[in-house]
């Protein structure tokens, strides 16, 4: 009888202890885009760690993830950029953006101690890599899109972009 009681209590807790804010956030993202399977190319611009935060449903868990775009005024992705991170201890990590601009850092690969600073590096000017450093550190949020959602406004910095409007970029679309 005692074990049944414990089991019932556990089930109630599992059912009732889910984070409703996170669940609502995931529901609000909607379905996958037709023709894009779950994987590194899916859901650009969305708050990745909402699902890939370690509590599912996304797997693997990400330490950080996001999407980088070319310019502020459009959502053309910036492929083949390098995203660099350094934490408060000076521990560094870098990864790259794929053809939809997505990048991710697996939690197994990087366990930073906040705050964390980040920059995007792409191309060269006069033989020197061009980089854009984020003006403020990250104190806790692991999804870029949580703070960098569109539209830009009094509580959002807008999507992550690399250069001012008008700067030409190579066309690096995903293979069809």
């Amino acid at each position: 009888l005692k074990s049944r009681y414990v089991l019932a209590l556990s089930l109630v807790c599992v059912a009732g202890c889910a984070d409703p804010v996170r669940s609502d956030g995931i529901d609000a993202l909607g379905d996958e885009r037709p023709g894009v399977p779950e994987g590194p190319l899916h859901r650009p611009g969305e708050p990745c760690v909402l699902c890939h935060g370690g509590s599912g449903p996304g797997d693997p868990e990400f330490a950080f993830a996001g999407t980088v775009y070319q310019v502020a005024s459009s959502t053309v992705p910036l492929a083949n950029a390098i995203v660099r991170l350094v934490d408060s201890r000076g521990v560094k990590f870098e990864t790259g953006t794929n053809c939809v601009g997505n990048f991710y850092v697996r939690a197994d690969d990087y366990r930073p101690v906040f705050p964390v600073w980040t920059k995007v590096v792409f191309g060269e000017a006069g033989g020197v890599p061009v980089e854009q450093i984020m003006g403020s550190p990250i104190y806790r949020e692991r999804s870029c899109a949580k703070c960098h959602g569109d539209p830009v406004g009094p509580e959002s910095a807008g999507h992550v972009y690399f250069a001012p409007d008008g700067v030409p970029f190579p066309s690096d679309g995903c293979p069809q």
């Binding site: 920059k119 450093i133 990250i138």
Partner: protein, 168 residues
């Protein structure tokens, strides 16, 4: 019966807060001395992922977080005087009765105030430890509470950068 009466009396005492329309007029350090403190709060607490958001009780307004002007944008244009004032009003509204006591006592035992309790992570704080007792940011805040802002400490604490500089 005696226990029930005692419980009822304690309940009345414990639940006897301000009236629904009551206004607590507290004593707080002057807003005139707040700008350097605001800059420190912006740097350490005021990003969009922390207190630079409307969802927080303690709101910190500024360039890297929540903007006071609804037409404003995060990351663009420096922090305005209206934003510093709005941050001040938010800060002095947090546990005003405790803040008043600390202010009246010349800034003694500032660790009673929840802003320091949380900032130092003496009390659970989802954002972790953002102040270490005696460091520049902490001294900036406590000196403000004591009525004598240590400007150099505030200036140093307002600059938050990666270890080793921006060459990572």
């Amino acid at each position: 019966m005696q226990t029930a009466l005692l419980g009822l009396a304690l309940g009345v005492i414990a639940c006897n807060g301000p009236s629904a329309n009551g206004v607590v007029v507290g004593v707080a350090p002057s807003p005139d001395t707040f700008p350097p403190v605001s800059a420190v709060l912006e740097a350490h607490c005021g990003t969009l992922d922390c207190h630079g958001a409307a969802a927080r009780n303690l709101r910190v307004y500024g360039i890297d977080g929540l903007r006071w002007d609804k037409a404003g944008t995060t990351g663009d244009q420096s922090t305005t005087m209206e934003e510093i004032q709005a941050t001040y009003e938010s800060v002095v509204s947090i546990q005003p009765e405790v803040l008043a006591r600390i202010t009246e006592e010349g800034g003694k035992r500032p660790e009673r105030w929840i802003v320091l309790l949380k900032g130092r992570e003496t009390e659970e704080h989802k954002g972790g430890r953002r102040l270490v007792a005696g460091d520049d940011a902490d001294r900036c805040l406590t000196s403000w509470l004591a009525g004598a802002v240590e400007q150099t400490r505030c200036d140093a604490a307002a600059l938050v950068g990666p270890p080793g500089g921006e060459t990572f």
